[in-house]
């Protein structure tokens, strides 16, 4: 180790892999429904795409977790996005392809992708 820059580079890289362990209530929580119905409908690739996309963009304020049956099994895979002080957003009939747009528009820029949200499906 010769310079502080070298040390900082290692720190930033290692830190990015550890954000999941931070006790932080200000993060945006992306929750994927992973009950039997969700898994059968293809929730796993959706979950993995979220994890990859969030990691790729180095979003420190987002955690991706899974939950049990959200309840509307006909709309699975379902993904819910929780953000402090905002209404919960529910995305339905998710696919891995839709993930990139949600991450880009919603998680990064704060614009809900209404065409994927539950409202536009149940109308």
């Amino acid at each position: 180790m010769k310079t502080l820059e070298e040390l900082n580079a290692i720190r930033e890289k290692a830190k990015a892999t550890m954000t999941v362990r931070e006790d932080n209530s200000d993060v945006i929580r992306v929750v994927v429904g992973m009950a039997t119905c969700g898994i059968a409908a293809g929730a796993r690739p959706v979950l993995n795409s979220f994890v990859e996309e969030v990691a790729r963009r180095r979003l420190k304020n987002v955690t991706v977790t899974q939950t049990g049956c959200i309840g509307m099994c006909q709309y699975e895979p379902i993904v819910e996005v929780f953000e402090k002080g905002k209404e919960k957003v529910t995305y339905v009939k998710m696919t891995a392809d839709k993930v990139a747009r949600i991450v880009n528009e919603h998680l990064v820029n704060g614009n809900v992708v209404t065409e994927f949200a539950v409202g536009s499906f149940t109308k």
């Binding site: 310079t3 040390l7 890289k13 830190k15 892999t17 006790d23 994890v51 990859e52 969030v54």
Partner: protein, 595 residues
Amino acid sequence: MYRAHVLVCGGTGCTSSNSKKIIDAIEDEIAEKGLADEIKVIQTGCFGLCALGPIMIVYPEGCFYSQVKVEDIPEIVEEHLLKGRPVKRLLYEETVAPDIIKSLNDTAFYKKQKRIALRNCGVIDPESIEEYIAMDGYQALAKCLTELKPEDVIQIVKDSGLRGRGGGGFPTGLKWSFTAKNEADQKYVVCNADEGDPGAFMDRSVLEGDPHCIVEAMTICGYATGATQGYVYVRAEYPIAVKRLSMAIEQAKQAGLLGKNIFNSGFDFDLHIRLGAGAFVCGEETALMTSIEGNRGEPRPRPPYPAVKGLFGKPTTENNVETFSNIPQIILHGAESFASMGTERSKGTKVFALGGKIKNTGLVEIPMGTTLREIIEEIGGGIPNGKKFKAAQTGGPSGGCIPASLIDTEIDYDNLTAIGCMMGSGGLIVMDEDTCMVDIAKFFLDFTVDESCGKCSPCRIGTKRMLELLNKITDGSATMDDLDKLEELAYHVKENSLCGLGQTAPNPVLATLKFFRDEYIAHIVDKKCPAGVCKSLLKYVILEDKCKGCTVCARNCPVGAISGTVKKPHVIDTKKCIKCGACIEKCKFNAIIKK
């Protein structure tokens, strides 16, 4: 990128309750469910709540599983890791609220703690230098080497008010400055990890949970004092600590954080481990250095102090593990931030190993000035089985005790010294009404008699004679003259012994005499042990009106001391009775008592 991290405690406590098997089981189960790319399993250091081990935390939710069994793993993986439903039945009950799972930091055990020395224990993987660096590791070293002069470093440590955590409480910055001002061709830094007090394990936990912080702190000390060689003297009985420390040293060398020209500053530092064979006296600084030199671990007279003539006759700075573990934080966050915690003359925090008659046995780190009541009743969760608190023993065989009447004492160096006790390295043994204080004094003296190195006669012969007097007291053959003799001898040993071991060996006797003299007198005059511990003074008796004559006691007595016919009250022959207590345990009618 992993979406979840499973942290399993790999400290000695949890390892001995099988956490290694749990890690294997989780890894197998995760692989079987095809989750190996999504979930990372990490072995960490001690979380502190050893009573509830093995311990496991699942992030991002922060779910705290306690007393995990291998059989529970399939359920945890299937329900929690796959389907995202924490298994509430297995969570630490205090974290389970009706709707939410509370953070660990909100539980009574963790709420009042302030973790500086233990900041990374249970948080990072101790075998990964990257994780240490991610938690600002080696930043303090970089700051020292690139921005600060050695005298600035010493000034920061002085200003922080940090005092030696090994027990003595000597100001650390001052100690460093003594070595720094002595000119020599070679100087040394020594880390005392020869933790020998019965019941104390904070140094082990730091080495196991955060070994890099010791490497970093010792290097900083080397820079500040002008030393280029360091030795860690650690007990061979701490295999996990030794393994992780060796690993950390190796990783630091590879990364260029140890060795030549660190951070291009021209400063060289190298670190070695020396294993101790477990002699208590080697925790004494001069004996420790004699042992590192390859000689029999015996103390030498001071002065000359190690700062003048220490290891291999060269100026040496020696600090304890916990002292070192505070250093990087002090450098990074400044002396003021550290000095803002604690009391007037004792700054920062102190780690205690909580043991004995207490619900939450484990490791706690509290700001100096926290009261004993907060430690025992809130953090420790109180005394089990509704028993009454009698006293807390601190400082191990060199320390004293704090009686129940002083439970509101604010814990710091000076308050403890004022009541005839000492901070010690941090063992805190809680005793309830069933503990005999004479027996406790005897236990610790028995330990020091065994551990006395024999070099000086006050310690070698004096402690032995004291133990004989204590034995006389507990077997009921002592007179009040013996008590006076014991006290006189205690002061003699204290005044005349060569090193800290002998000088402090009488402390358990003196402290118990100070607060519990009536118990000594009860043993000597009334021939009774009030707590019902000292066997020779006890008599087992069957209460005639309660005995139903069921014969269970007679059948379980190993020496056939109980006689009587069916459905008639039984009697114990006190001459035959060996006072093993088997009859009391078996009696369903509470008809047998000790008196």
